[in-house]
């Protein structure tokens, strides 16, 4: 309403101003110039306020043109017939200019509104897409979480199942069994076997829980290393002593480059890495196959250590995934051995330890193409004598 009012007001003012400016000089100015000036008013009014104020400007313009500029002056009559033509031409042109420019203005406004609408829709769409992709990411992470939970519960329940079955077998003998069962006592060998299972499976549970704690620490970035100066050969020999029960049948070859510099590492943690790799090598290669452990200086000033077996090897596309937690390249559990199966955490923890030392770990094919070689690097670390976080959070597991 306000805008419309302003339009009509503009039409009146514009026409009045043109009339006031030109009327005193009507002798000097010819009527075409006057008509064009009025047209200009109509044009502006149409562009700013639309067609109806422009119509008013046209009518007022015609009126003033006739009254003030066409002889006889100050009357609404016209003396010369050609001036009729001029007045009619003026009015028609004014009407047309007003309507056309008003329409152009409306079109421009509509186009602008359209553009804004598209922009708004686009932004809305973008927001929706963003929300959808966030929801998808959330769903994926939920799926991952539930897969991890499944893996963890399976690994917790499996030893528990053996323990429960053993212990109830033993309990039954003490308590006496249901009347339907014939009274059978376990021989001492069976009893021993049940207890062995309980013992071994409790250890397995404990190892698994220790591994979970280590993983949690690594993921939270809370694996603090106790770096000390140490010799590589000592670290390797500590690991090999621990791994002896697994490597008994294997031929173990150790190849350490002479005059290796001492390293500033968390010896226990690095020894843990070597132990995990040796244990894996023993577990996934045939009983008498060779296991080769080597340590040497690499070109880039790092110490490069590797553990190599003659087992089946790991397919190229699985070589990164085996470092994911709970991922197992093979499911073990050969009936003929009593070897507890893996937890799917060893390599994930090894990777965490190596990376905490600013090293790298990866898998290659072993020499001769058969078997697996796991390689990791450690910086020599010759400066920086600062001890960091001495006592916090040591490794929980002895995998």
């Amino acid at each position: 309403m306000n805008l419309k009012g302003a339009g009509y007001f503009g039409a009146v003012v514009g026409t009045t101003v043109v009339t006031a400016l030109m009327a005193p000089f009507h002798e000097q100015i010819n009527s075409t110039t006057v008509a064009l000036a009025f047209l200009l008013v109509v044009l502006f009014v149409a562009l700013f306020w639309g067609s109806r104020p422009a119509l008013l400007a046209s009518v007022l313009g015609m009126f003033c043109f006739n009254f003030f500029f066409l002889p006889p002056l100050y009357t609404l009559s016209i003396a010369h017939p050609p001036n009729w033509v001029a007045l009619t031409a003026f009015f028609t042109t004014a009407l047309a200019v007003g309507q056309l420019s008003a329409r152009a203005r409306r079109k421009a406004q509509e186009a602008e509104a359209g553009r804004r609408e598209i922009e708004r829709l686009y932004q809305e769409l973008q927001a929706v897409f963003e929300r959808a992709s966030q929801a998808e990411a959330l769903r994926q992470s939920e799926r991952l979480k539930s897969a991890l939970l499944d893996a963890v519960t399976h690994d917790l329940r499996t030893p528990l199942t053996s323990i429960k079955a053993s212990i109830t077998t033993l309990l039954d003998e003490v308590r006496g069994r249901s009347p339907e069962e014939p009274l059978v006592t376990l021989d001492s060998e069976s009893r021993l076997e049940m207890m062995e299972v309980i013992d071994e499976e409790s250890d397995r549970l404990n190892r698994f829980i220790g591994g979970l704690i280590d993983l949690a620490r690594i993921e939270a970035g809370e694996l603090h290393l106790r770096r000390r100066w140490g010799a590589v050969d000592e670290i390797i020999s500590t690991a090999l002593t621990r791994a002896e029960p697994f490597t008994k049948g294997h031929e173990v070859e150790v190849d350490i480059e002479s005059e290796l510099p001492v390293v500033r590492v968390d010896e226990r943690a690095v020894s843990e890495v070597v132990y995990t790799l040796v244990e894996n090598a023993a577990k996934y290669s045939p009983g008498i196959a060779k296991i080769r452990i080597s340590a040497a200086r690499s070109d880039d000033g790092m110490i490069k250590m590797s553990v190599e077996d003659q087992g089946e090897g790991i397919a190229v596309d699985l070589r990164e995934r085996v470092f994911d937690k709970f991922f197992r390249a093979t499911r073990d559990g050969d009936i003929s051995t009593h070897q507890p199966s893996g937890t799917g955490m060893g390599l994930a923890i090894a990777k965490g330890i190596v990376e905490a030392h600013d090293g790298n770990i990866w898998i290659e094919s072993a020499t001769g193409g058969k078997g697996t070689r796991v390689v990791f690097t450690l910086p020599v670390g010759d400066e920086e004598p600062t001890e960091q976080a001495e006592s916090s959070a040591p490794l929980a597991s002895k995998l």
Binding site: A165, T168, T185
Partner: protein
């Protein structure tokens, strides 16, 4: 040694087969173990055990496939070792024809009880024949010709469908029957998704059978799986 019932244990978990072998052997069973479905199937073909206990998740051939293969050649009772989280595949195995399940971790008593029940059922199955006109099972006495049912001497009036359901239950006493199996057996294959049908019928049948039964339950619910019928005594 041939009079000892033979049990085949199929599980990829070496420690568990070790325990089960010892635990079951000490109760007078002849036990062999296999580490996966494939090895289990081979042992079954050579050795003809009286009962199979199998895990579900195994390498090479899983428990489900083993059940399928076994059912194709034999009616040997099958007990499934399942874990929470494997319900779907467990029900599938029962649909295929596995007889019973034990949820991990389990006490040896529970497993032994299931073993005894399954062996007993397998041995008695021969005696239930279509030529029979009278079914006697626990508290139940059914005349198949007059369709007369008595529970602990009390006569019960059943609708034709309820009667069919009861006969099916009696013939499969002690066995876990999935919703799917019951629906297919009584109403036919088109109704296998109509769980609510079954719930209503079971509810009515229970009311008729179990009033006056001194708190006894004949139809036991196996949550999310199906029902198990215990005729009493």
């Amino acid at each position: 040694m041939s009079d000892k019932p033979r049990i085949l244990v199929v599980d990829d978990e070496a420690q568990l087969t070790r325990v089960l072998r010892t635990g079951l052997s000490s109760r007078g069973y002849d036990v062999r173990a296999a580490a996966d479905g494939l090895a289990g199937f081979e042992t079954f073909s050579d050795w003809h055990p009286d009962l199979v206990i199998t895990d579900l998740a195994m390498p090479n051939m899983d428990g489900l496939e083993l059940c399928r293969r076994l059912r194709a050649i034999s009616q040997v009772p099958i007990i499934i070792l399942s874990a929470k989280g494997e319900e779907k595949i467990k029900v599938e195995a029962l649909d295929i024809g596995a007889d019973d399940f034990v949820t991990k971790p389990f006490g040896i008593d529970e497993l032994l009880a299931r073993v005894r029940a399954s062996l007993r059922r397998a041995n008695s199955q021969v005696s239930i024949e279509i030529t029979q006109t009278v079914l006697d099972a626990g508290d139940f006495h059914v005349d198949l010709e007059s369709r007369n049912v008595t529970v602990r001497g009390r006569e019960i009036r059943l609708t034709p469908k309820e009667f069919d359901l009861l006969i099916y239950f009696i013939n499969h006493s002690g066995k876990v029957l999935t919703h799917h199996t019951l629906l297919a057996a009584i109403w036919g294959g088109d109704y296998v998704e109509q769980d609510q049908y079954l719930r209503v019928f079971i509810g009515n049948l229970r009311k008729k059978l179990e009033t006056d039964a001194e708190g006894k339950s004949y139809i036991l619910t196996e949550p999310w799986v199906g029902y198990r019928f215990q005729p009493g005594e």
